[in-house]
């Protein structure tokens, strides 16, 4: 019997999967930097260290920024961002499971969690992308300013 913090195989696989989606998206968007983030994120989950996982996610996100700023296709950038956000979410969940359940089983809850978060994230991404498609014609600058102003406020209020 051991009470070590052992992450489940499911958690490792989910992190690898979502991280690869992020890396692939960034690669299609023209940035290879995110590939380095995948092993770091997996290592973070394996060592049950949130700091290392955050480092991996930061590398993935660097890929998103480089792809976005370098004029990559919006679809690729959005896919990369989805992968990045999910990589943190499933990775952190695996770490928390390992901390609270130790060697106990928690795969089912991890899969359900990953499915729920992915569904909502995809839905929001599709909605955002639709607005983007509609609005990509020349818009008044004030609209963008107000949009950013509002989004930052709401996110700050809800996500603290």
């Amino acid at each position: 019997m051991s009470v070590g913090r052992t992450p489940s195989a499911t958690g490792l696989v989910l992190t690898a999967l979502t991280g690869s989606v992020a890396a692939l998206g960034a690669l299609l968007g023209g940035s290879a930097a995110a590939i380095a983030g995948v092993p770091v994120a997996i290592a973070g989950v394996y060592r049950t260290s949130r700091a290392i996982l955050a480092g991996g996610v930061a590398l993935l996100f660097a890929g998103v920024v480089l792809a976005g700023a370098g004029g990559g296709a919006p679809e690729a950038v959005v896919v990369a961002m989805i992968g990045t956000v999910l990589a943190w979410d499933v990775g952190e969940n695996a770490i928390s499971m390992a901390g609270q359940l130790r060697t106990g089983a928690g795969e089912r809850a991890e899969i359900v969690h990953a499915a729920a978060v992915s569904t909502v994230t995809l839905t929001v991404a599709v909605a955002g992308y639709s607005v983007y498609l509609f609005a990509s014609a020349g818009q008044p600058e004030i609209a963008l300013s107000l949009l950013v102003f509002g989004v930052v406020l709401v996110v700050l209020a809800l996500g603290r």
């Binding site: 004029g71 991890e110 609209a143 509002g150 603290r160």
Partner: protein
């Protein structure tokens, strides 16, 4: 969480931010739909640069604070281990490691207390190794007692380290006093001749304890609570960073990508707070196992509510006195209404009656941001009873202090019996068969043969059941109490078989007493006491007053009783109680199961202290049986008997 709390979370400044932000977003969408409505000038152009900077700053501070520990997550106790048992010396290790102290001053105080404790040990060791008490202080101050200058320096006023050594320690983050303490422990152990230690080098801190993985405690110590885990702060940070950088670099795709992060955040607000209704059922494959038998516990969790349980993490209420040896008493799952799941684990049975505690449920909502912790009672089997099974061929030798009743203890009194004792002159009334007819036939005087009389002894077995006596050499090794209970059952049974009168008592906060008696009915009483007394399996939280307990015991003890005390000698009170009872005229034998190890410096200190206690008992003419770890008691008795005088 109640609705009131939910609204509270959204009140005040948060609600204001949301309203203002939403208005801005709505306005922006209106302008996008109909650019004609937008004013020709841009009054909020400043905002377009200010807000991204605010967002990026907030994102950085959120993620840095989160990673620096501004997060909250329930840390469950290690139910796998017994919470009733301590490992002697752990506190010294904690003091040396600095985990118990806050700040450098607190740490220094802790180390000073360790120094004081070591000084006491050193003084005793020096006395035992031929240093006169009046020379002790001088020997310690001069450092002559050891070849190790670092060890000697721990008790001297000046530091033994050179400037370069101090510099090296500062660089490696080593604490000079801690190094000295380790060297001192090493040197004292060498001086006492304790050389077969698991912890070898004074430069190392020794084996890491499994308890570093978490805390050991009872589930009932945990408060029910609901908290925010804050795990999505990183997602918030990613969103703000994407939007901020996107605006600053004029990259629309990045702003678009930032929207993605709103998904998990939204899930946190559409999801309900976790209040699952579960039913737990527990089955045990053998509720009355043999000692050290393996018992399989199967737990079934059923969702009887009408809502989905997204993230359920259950910890079963393993009895505090039992250790899980296989599988895990924890299970994480997601359950639809009506669904159920099952898991199993194996515990090792220890003597006594063990009750399962309430389980603990950690449930999270779909996004994992709200975490509720609550207790959850289980139906089904709640108890596990493990009766002692005496083998019957083990007995602690008793002394020749006996009662007038006939028994099997061979005394030094001449009379009728089997073993020849002496010959004396004939007195009228002596039985004819004991007259030495051979001598008469040779023409001598009438003489009577005497044989050693065989009497019954009155033996009272005492168990040290104070909370200090709940010790084990390792977290999952057999505890001293558990070994004592087994030995007591054996000794009790075998002394009854040899027609002695046997009684049973506990030295502990809870009163427990069985007056000396004989016969098979008496064994049944003792067995019930040994099995059901919760003071033997879980200990007691009440304070133990030695004076009261001794007074109570002396009133009950018959005049001719002799005592056998089962105690790990984990503190000095046990020694003084044993010595005092012996001095009152009750011949004392102490059976001391060894519950100390030598894997760390702290454990070594506890080991040395126990050795010294054994010596102090022997000094007082108390018979001591040093019962080593993983050794049958019979062997320990044989070894001890060799050094006893009759």
């Amino acid at each position: 969480m109640s609705e009131r709390e939910a609204t509270e979370r959204l009140s005040g400044s948060t609600l204001g931010l949301i309203v203002v932000g939403s208005l801005a977003v709505v306005l922006a969408i209106v302008f996008i739909y109909d650019p004609g409505l937008a004013p020709a000038f841009d009054p909020v152009l400043l905002l377009a640069y200010l807000m991204p900077l605010v967002g990026i700053g907030a994102a950085l501070s959120l993620s840095v604070n989160y990673l620096r520990g501004e997060r909250s997550e329930f840390d469950p106790p290690l139910v796998e281990y017994r919470s009733t048992v301590n490992v002697p010396g752990t506190s010294v290790d904690a003091d040396l490691a600095g985990t118990t102290a806050d700040g450098p001053l607190g740490r220094y105080k802790r180390i000073s207390s360790v120094r004081k404790r070591l000084r006491t040990v050193l003084d005793s060791v020096l006395t035992r190794t031929a240093v006169a008490p009046e020379d002790r202080a001088a020997t310690v101050e001069s450092g002559d007692w050891t070849d190790d200058r670092i060890a000697a320096g721990f008790f001297q006023s000046s530091t033994p380290f050179s400037r370069s050594e101090r510099l090296r320690m500062r660089l490696t983050g080593e604490h000079a006093l801690v190094t000295q303490a380790r060297h001192a422990i090493d040197a004292i152990a060498d001086r006492l001749g304790v050389t077969d230690r698991d912890w070898g080098s004074p430069e190392q801190a020794g084996a890491r304890s499994t308890v570093d993985e978490g805390w050991v405690g009872r589930l009932s110590e945990v408060d029910s609570q609901i908290r925010e885990t804050g795990r999505l702060r990183i997602v918030t940070a990613l969103t703000l960073l994407a939007v901020g950088i996107g605006v600053l670099l004029d990259a629309g795709t990045l702003v678009l990508a930032g929207v993605v992060g709103l998904g998990p955040l939204a899930l946190r607000y559409v999801g309900s707070t976790p209040t699952p209704q579960l039913e737990i059922e527990r089955t045990i494959d053998d509720t009355e196992p043999d000692p050290n038998g393996r018992v399989r516990v199967t737990v079934t969790i059923t969702n009887v509510g009408d809502r989905m349980g997204f993230d359920l993490r259950y910890l079963d209420g393993v009895p505090p006195g039992l250790t899980v040896v296989e599988g895990s008493p924890r299970h994480g799952t997601a359950l639809q209404p009506g669904a159920s799941t099952r898991f199993a684990y194996v515990v090792e049975a220890e003597r006594g009656e063990h009750a399962f505690e309430e389980g603990l449920l950690v449930s999270r909502d779909a996004s994992g941001t709200v975490e509720g912790v609550g207790h959850l009672g289980a139906s089904g089997e709640m108890r596990l009873r493990c009766e002692p099974k005496p083998t019957g061929d083990l007995s602690v030798p008793v002394r020749a202090k006996t009662s007038p009743n006939v028994g099997r203890v061979v005394t030094d009194v001449g009379g009728s019996g089997l073993e020849f004792h002496s010959i004396r002159e004939y007195r009228p009334g002596d039985p004819l068969k004991r007259i030495d007819w051979n001598r008469v036939a040779r023409g001598g005087e009438l003489a009577t043969m005497q044989f050693r009389e065989e009497h019954a002894a009155t033996v009272v077995l005492l168990l040290d059941a104070r909370s200090d006596a709940f010790v084990a050499p390792e977290r999952d090794a057999p505890s001293a109490i558990e070994r004592s209970l087994g030995a007591i059952a054996d000794v009790f049974h075998s002394r009854l078989d040899s027609d002695d009168r046997v009684g049973l008592g506990a030295l502990g906060a809870a009163d427990c007493w069985l007056a000396p008696g004989a016969g098979h009915g008496h064994w049944a009483l003792a067995k019930r006491l040994l099995t059901t007394e919760s003071a033997f399996t879980e200990g007691s939280d009440e304070t133990f007053y030695p004076v009261l307990a001794m007074g109570r015991l002396r009133k009950r003890l018959p005049k001719n009783a002799q005592l056998v005390l089962f105690s790990p000698l984990a503190d000095d009170t046990a020694v003084s109680m044993a010595r005092r009872l012996h001095a009152y005229g009750y011949p004392m034998t102490v059976v001391a199961p060894d519950a100390t190890a030598t894997a760390t410096p702290g454990q070594t200190v506890a080991h040395l202290e126990r050795r010294l206690r054994l010596s102090r008992l022997r000094d007082a003419d108390v018979r001591v049986i040093d019962w080593r770890r993983s050794e049958p008691l019979g062997i320990a008795i044989n070894r001890a008997q060799r050094r006893w005088s009759r």
